[in-house]
Amino acid sequence: MSSSKGASTAVWFVLRRLTRDRSALLGFALIVALLLAALLAPVLSTHPDDVFELHPSERLRAPSRAHWLGTDRMGADVYSRLLFGARITILIGVIAVGASLIVGVPVGLVAGYYHGWVSDLLMRVSDVFLAVPQVVLAIAIAQTLGPSLPNVILALSATYWPWFARVAYAETRSIQKEVFVESTAALGASPWRLTALHVLPNIASPIIVRASIGMGFTILTAAALGFLGLGPPPPTPEWGRTIAESREFLPDAWWYATAPGLAIFLTVMGFNLLGDGLRDVLDPRLRRTHTARDE
């Protein structure tokens, strides 16, 4: 409420600055393309039913006018499955990163705010989770609970939240030292008010940057998990699994692996470029305080 108006002008300000950075714009464009592909998959795809239907007679056809990116081993249109696969990708990315954020940021905030055993405990717990490789945890979960989309998301969130906790912790600690935090506390503000209204808005930037870069990282790992067969089972058109399927048909059916591989590459690059651009725009600009005093 207090800074909502400030937030919308800030968003506008950020977007304007972002347009000056070409690589960030490229990243932004790639992500928009991904979103459009996912949202409009039924409209944009040429063979929308190929997600479920099989046409074994048409298997492994090279790219043609009928099938823009060729067909896979079941005869399904690679292009259409790619578009629907974008939905999976976004779903995994958003939920995994979202869950990590929701768990990690409050942990980091609390650890940063308090000093002493609470803070130590929380950060040690997050260190433990950081030490677990995502793939190993995903395999373990898949073994016990079976390979599926929710389990992939669980594995990814469980291993990614410590990154948010770390960022939130470091930023909270440094913001705490700022005069305006101390003075607002001296005015009688409760820790809740301080954290929610003063600390959180001021640490939002690095968290947003981490979220954007995290999306790229998460999607890449999700694809790796899908490749290993730990992700959603067929016929879900998940990109990583598609690559796994294509292996035995390489190098003849080159389109089969290239299409999803390129899609993953462009998506991850898009998020990384956007994240870098955001970092340049958000951090130095909004941290800088103008002083009227000159030479």
Binding site: V179, T184, A186, N202, T291
Partner: protein, 323 residues
């Protein structure tokens, strides 16, 4: 203790604040004795000056009184109530009446908040006034500090340093506090800007019936604004009492050196006669007995053995065996 005309508004009794010093492993190796047994009282309506050089503990004293630090030992009595050991929620309520101004009051504003929200915030924390009522209060305070309403819609970085300072002050005054601790409010300011700021403080004191504790290292500013002063050195008060008496005839050797160091315009150069050598000792390793003895021209054996207590002398109180 000289009999006060009325009950003191703020009374500090044997206040102690230590900071632990830790080595690389986090183990406590020593204590930094920032405030080491300070007693003071502040009468309603007066301006008490707290003077000392860097490292003497005057800022720590102010921050402990206001509650930013909790006391290691000792009492803080405000308006008849002990506040140093209150639970956090109660302590936050005291902020209504007892406030603190930073050296740069503009820095106390959240850079992402518009001025209007920063000014409403104290009232939101402490009162249940409606938005219109709050707006009226804020408007009144703004004119008291001499700022136009148009500034409400701006962010701190869009104002000049002087305007930021006024906003910072306004924010505190919305609560109508009774006592305000001013921590080095004129440090680093040009002399003409300093004069404007001091004038502002004076007018605010009249308008809002404020009591001030004025912390500064600048003796000429203290002399112009305060009626009673306390001189601090390495965590303790060495001389304390009426300003005129102390400035005209300082009794403690440190006070004498301090006054002798201040350049006087017109007349003999003070540095020609200035005799005090050396630097203040490391506050982590405070000398035994009297802390000033390592630089004091009057030091004797008893100074190392026994710490001098504050005693009445010539209308003020001095902590020295030989004053």
């Amino acid at each position: 203790m000289s009999a006060p005309s009325s009950a003191p508004l703020l009374e500090i009794v044997d206040l102690v604040r230590y900071f632990p010093l830790r080595n690389a492993f986090g183990r406590r190796t020593a204590w930094l004795r920032a405030v080491d047994g300070v007693s003071l009282s502040v009468q309603p309506g007066e301006t008490l000056g707290l003077v000392g050089e860097s490292g003497c503990g005057k800022s720590t004293l102010g921050k402990t009184a206001i509650g930013i630090y909790t006391p290691t030992a000792g009492d803080i009595w405000f308006a008849g109530r002990e506040i140093g050991r209150l639970p956090p929620r109660e302590r936050r309520r005291v902020a209504r009446d007892l406030q603190y101004v930073y050296q740069d009051p503009g820095a106390s504003l959240d850079p992402r908040w518009k001025i209007v929200h920063s000014l409403h915030e104290p009232l939101k924390i402490h009162t249940r006034l409606s938005r219109t009522e709050r707006a009226r209060e804020v408007g009144a305070i703004l004119s008291a500090v001499g700022l136009p309403d148009a500034h409400l819609d701006l962010y701190p970085h869009e104002l000049s340093g002087g305007q930021q300072r006024r906003v910072g002050l306004a924010r505190i005054l919305t609560l109508r506090p009774r006592l305000v601790i001013l921590d080095e409010p004129t440090s680093g300011l040009d002399v003409s800007v300093q004069a404007s700021v001091l004038k502002l403080f004076r007018s605010l004191q009249e308008t809002f019936a404020l009591t001030y504790v004025f912390i500064s290292h600048d003796l000429s500013v203290i002399r112009a604004t305060c009626a009673r002063i306390a001189v601090m050195y390495l965590g303790k008060i060495v001389e304390h009492g009426d300003k005129t008496a102390i400035f005209e005839e300082p009794r403690h050797p440190y006070t004498q050196s301090l006054l002798a160091a201040v350049p006087r315009i017109g007349g003999r150069r003070v540095t020609l006669d200035f005799a005090l050598q050396g630097e203040p000792p490391d506050p982590r390793a405070v000398p035994s007995g009297c802390r000033f003895r390592t630089r004091c021209p009057l030091a004797q054996d008893v100074c190392a053995a026994e710490e001098p207590a504050l005693r009445e002398l010539d209308g003020r109180r001095v902590a020295c065996h030989f004053a």
